[in-house]
Amino acid sequence: MKLLKRISAAVVAAVAIVVGPLAGHGAIAQEKPKTIYLAVGTTSSEYWQEVIWGAQQVANSVGAKLEVYESGFDGQKHMQQLGAILAAGCEGCAFAWFPDSTAFTKAFVERAEAGGAFMTTMWNRPEEIHPWDTASDAWIANISFDGVDSGYQNGMALCKAIGGKGGIAVLKGTPDNPPSKQREIGLLKAVSECPGMTILDTQIGNWGQTEGQNITRTWIARYGDQLKGVFAQNDGMALGAVAALREKGLAGKVPVTGSDGSSDVLKLIKSGDMLSSMRISSQLHGAVAAALAYAVASGDLKIGDLAQAQRDFYLVQTLATKDNVDAMLSAQPNPADFSYDALKKNFWVRSKGQIPVGVN
């Protein structure tokens, strides 16, 4: 048995020596990357774990290694990590990168360009720069989710749930980041279409559960029966709001909306403690970001051939409500759907269109 293995290994090696140079001749245009570099905000959240899972499926399907870089949402840390990778020589490398804030996006893509690498970015793009006008040989695409749509759909769900009339309170993430801004624009659009719904107060909860809980507690004491609903810009703060309402026996009576569609929140929607949340396709986010970076780095795709709508786009999302939550909870993502070959057929098949002007 052992001997057989050795012989076959020797044969394979001999064939490789003879055929290798010939095969290499044809493929000299571009070497396939052996590593995909993925930057994430944290590994301690369901969303980011799903992003990693999606990118991992792409890497597995092409036999590449996925290296994950976590920053704890500290842009400087990602900057150091990127600098270290590029310093080691990384021409033609594939980066699927998360700029921790819009302040870092330009620096990341320009560094990638200087290092001769290719990069896709997730979420944070400053309003004034785009992949086609900044580091355009390296910055392949920016991929995000439509926060305006999230704010609008959650807002309209809230409007319906309170019968079109009454005061709601808003838990905002941070003052200066695109998702927070977009979700607010969307909510204001819903309010304008639902004039009976008024915003009692807006507070900054920094995306956190405990802050969401403390603020909601204070709102309950301040507004009492006037508080008909809570609009939270993410699931974390929504969880906190539900916890505060639960303390007063109001969970399920005062509707709460979130955004992300994490599994714990889906369960609260199922039990009726929460009204809705925008479920984003997080696995797809990681997979498409990784696959596009790999496609350009391996020569399957030319940056110059891409249209603007292919370089700055939203991915699909679905509002989770009591009506569809069971299906969402039971759905298990199929790794085959996230393989490079599956995505390559059309990377943009689940795009929701180009990101419009004025929302970042």
């Binding site: 590994t43 301690s44 107060d201 809980q213 004491a221 714990d264």
Partner: protein, 348 residues
């Protein structure tokens, strides 16, 4: 004088939180002035309550006072633990990591929606033990290897956050143990068990601080460690003790957060550290050690929580709130340490 006598003499002289000063005042009959001097934080708190109450009558409603106390419970537990470390002149920065670790340990070991474990109260014991162990390790590294507590605990912050991330099962575990979640939900006289627990802990901590060697020598270490060593006291043991208490209580804070939200989160400790330290300082516990105490720190917690609540109640601009918080911290600390400014204390 024997070693033991020397020890007893020195530590009792040094151990009073308002060492020397209080004694002198008592002798010279200036008790009223002394109380006024150390009452800065309470005066700040009352002034704040008066201002908010005049702006919105709703502020002093029973419902809002309940909201303030519920929000103060977890920060109070953190501040109590932190006080034991601060009075020794050390600092513990590992709090956010330790609380996160305890939170995620608890939520994957108690009945939950992700893992198959169900240790019940055992999960609480494991999570508390983890906090205690990390705290004791902090203290040991600091006291016996003579590394600055700032650096040791900074490293431990990262280590425990990393461990919490490792233990995170990719999805936030919902806690299904009704009794545990009930700690935050079931109300007795309008308040949850968490508030009563925080009050009970404060009482016990106050006794430990004033009536046990651990507490009294802690103050002495903060005031003048060299003198305490000279008196033959095994200082390191008390240092490790203080850090162990701090670690255990911080772990408890992480556990209580899990009860409040009903979901485990490997970042649950975020936002606990700096408000915790700020609360202690606002209350008059000095970072240089030797002064302050548990009750001071509790007043500091109430100042911070009341401030945040009041700003929401009065409808202050949310973008301005952080700035206002900063101003109040400076003013409150100035008020509580005003009487110290002429003393020959080194400020650094």
């Amino acid at each position: 004088m024997t070693q033991a006598q020397l020890h007893a003499h020195d530590t009792s002289a040094m151990a009073s939180p308002r060492r020397g000063e209080a004694g002198t005042q008592r002798r010279s009959g200036h008790i009223g002035l002394g109380v006024l001097k150390s009452a800065g934080p309470i005066v700040s708190l009352l002034a704040m309550v008066l201002v908010f109450a005049s702006l919105t009558p709703n502020f002093v409603s029973a419902a809002n006072l309940q909201a303030i106390l519920e929000s103060a419970a977890v920060p109070a537990v953190v501040a109590i633990g932190m006080t034991f470390v601060l009075v020794q002149g050390s600092i513990d920065l590992s709090g956010e990591g330790v609380a996160s670790l305890a939170n995620i340990l608890l939520s994957i070991l108690i009945a939950n929606s992700v893992t198959a474990h169900d240790l019940g109260a055992g999960a609480i014991v494991v999570a508390l033990a983890a906090g205690l162990a990390v705290g004791a390790l902090n203290g040991t590294l600091y006291a016996y290897l003579r590394m600055p507590s700032l650096i040791v605990t900074l490293a431990m912050w990262l280590i425990t956050l990393g461990l919490a991330a490792l233990l995170f099962p990719s999805r936030q575990p919902q806690i299904l143990d009704g009794g545990f979640v009930g700690l935050a939900l079931h109300k007795h006289l309008g308040l949850s068990a968490l508030v009563y627990l925080a009050v009970a802990l404060a009482f016990v901590a106050f006794i430990v601080e004033r009536r046990t060697k651990l507490g009294r020598i802690g103050f002495a270490i903060g005031a003048d460690e060299a003198l305490v060593r000279l008196a033959g006291v095994n200082v390191n043991v008390y240092k490790v003790g203080a850090f162990a208490i701090c670690g255990c209580l911080t772990g408890l804070a992480g556990i209580l957060t899990a009860a409040q939200i009903g979901v485990g989160n490997p970042l649950a400790g975020e936002g606990l550290l700096f408000p915790g330290i700020a609360a202690c300082v606002i209350g008059g516990t000095l970072l240089s050690g030797g002064r302050g105490g548990v009750l001071h720190s509790l007043v500091g917690v109430l100042v911070l929580v009341t401030l945040r609540n009041g700003l929401v109640q009065t409808g202050a601009n949310p973008l301005l709130q952080k700035a206002i918080e900063g101003v109040v911290i400076v003013v409150a600390v100035a008020a509580s340490t005003w009487h110290l400014r002429r003393k020959t204390r080194v400020v650094k």
